[in-house]
């Protein structure tokens, strides 16, 4: 190998490393998000287990799941959150194409659908409370509010991140070159969606 070829290769490798800022060939930010999501599985796994353990621990005159759950209402909320995942992938694909206007529209739509879901959850909590199920009423209530409340908090954080992306986009700081930022926020958003897929089935639909 000549010294010229060696220098050219070194320059290429240096440019490649600079482009990715990583020694693995994959994005560090995306890797970090996946590690974080893997750890979130443990958090929600714990909360779901606590719910499963306590859901039957209600007194004979206590308010239980069958007294408060409104399945048609929660089904609509679940559908709204599922569809927000579709709008989120559209946001990711639009910025990858360089369609900044489309990206803003889909980010806003996703945040609006997420906000609709959170509003539904607030309404549900209010209705449950008025029917006599508080956080400390019984173990079922504590486990239920802890699990769904943590999930709602995650959705709310997701909405804040989406709105931050929108502000970045409006200020001209979110261009096609930074499409991966949208993709990483999208990963978080889809994770929140899959957690709800599990919660909806186990908490609401499993025969009590």
């Amino acid at each position: 190998m000549t010294s010229e070829t060696g220098a050219a290769e070194a320059a290429t490798q240096s440019a490649h490393a600079e482009e990715h800022h990583t020694s693995t060939g994959i994005s560090n930010e995306k890797l970090a998000m996946w590690v974080f999501l893997g750890s979130e599985c443990l958090l929600f796994g714990g909360l779901i287990s606590v719910y499963m353990f306590n859901k039957g621990r209600i007194g004979p005159n206590d308010v239980g799941p069958n007294d408060v759950f409104d399945i048609p209402f929660t089904s609509v909320s679940s559908f709204v959150l599922l569809m927000s995942s579709l709008t989120m992938v559209f946001a990711v694909s639009s910025i990858a194409r360089g369609d900044l206007r489309g990206n803003r529209i889909w980010l806003t739509t996703t945040a609006a659908l997420g906000a609709t879901f959170v509003a539904g959850q607030v309404y549900e909590f209010t209705a449950f409370y008025s029917e006599g199920l508080g956080f400390t009423t019984n173990l079922f209530g504590s486990a239920f509010y802890a699990l769904t409340g943590f999930h709602g908090a995650h959705v709310t954080i997701g909405i804040i991140m989406l709105m931050s992306l929108l502000v970045m986009s409006l200020r001209g700081n979110l261009t096609q070159e930074r499409a991966e930022t949208v993709e990483i926020i999208g990963l978080y958003w889809h994770f929140v969606d899959i957690v709800w897929i599990v919660i909806f089935t186990i908490v609401y639909l499993f025969p009590q």
């Binding site: 994959i26 796994g45 714990g46 287990s49 694909s93 897929i197």
Partner: protein
């Protein structure tokens, strides 16, 4: 110097391999800033969303009295299967794990399996089954 076929840094596949991926991949690898990897088409996303909606509708359907004659165990097994299909549809297509680097898949599945194992043991210890 040896000729190097350009590879997607996060999949290890050449663009040609992506383009011939069952006809479902976009014709072109879309640039995502730091990385270049092919994304599914928007129509594929819509098809996945329709499948998710239909599965959710069927899940809700099982809640109503008409299926209660099947017994709780059968309903729970059916619900778990539908939940798993929905889960993996979102992870594989919306989160791009089907098309992304295998290391992401391994990291996520590791967390998932660890969580399931730890809490299965815990629930078994408390004799919940």
């Amino acid at each position: 110097m040896a000729t190097v076929t350009p590879e997607s840094p996060d999949t290890g596949h050449t663009p040609d391999e992506h383009a011939s991926d069952g006809g479902q991949m976009a014709e072109h690898a879309q640039s995502t800033g730091k990385q270049n990897h092919a994304h599914p088409t928007d129509w594929l996303y819509v098809k996945v969303a329709i499948a998710l909606g239909l599965l959710t509708a069927f899940e809700v359907f099982t809640y109503f009295e008409s299926l209660h004659g099947w017994g709780d165990t059968a309903i729970i097994i059916m619900l778990i299967l539908m939940m798993l299909v929905k889960f993996f549809l979102v992870v594989a297509f919306f989160m791009h794990l089907k098309f992304d680097s295998p290391i992401f898949w391994r990291l996520f599945v590791f967390g998932l399996i660890l969580a399931m194992a730890v809490y299965m043991v815990m629930l078994t210890a408390f004799r919940i089954w």
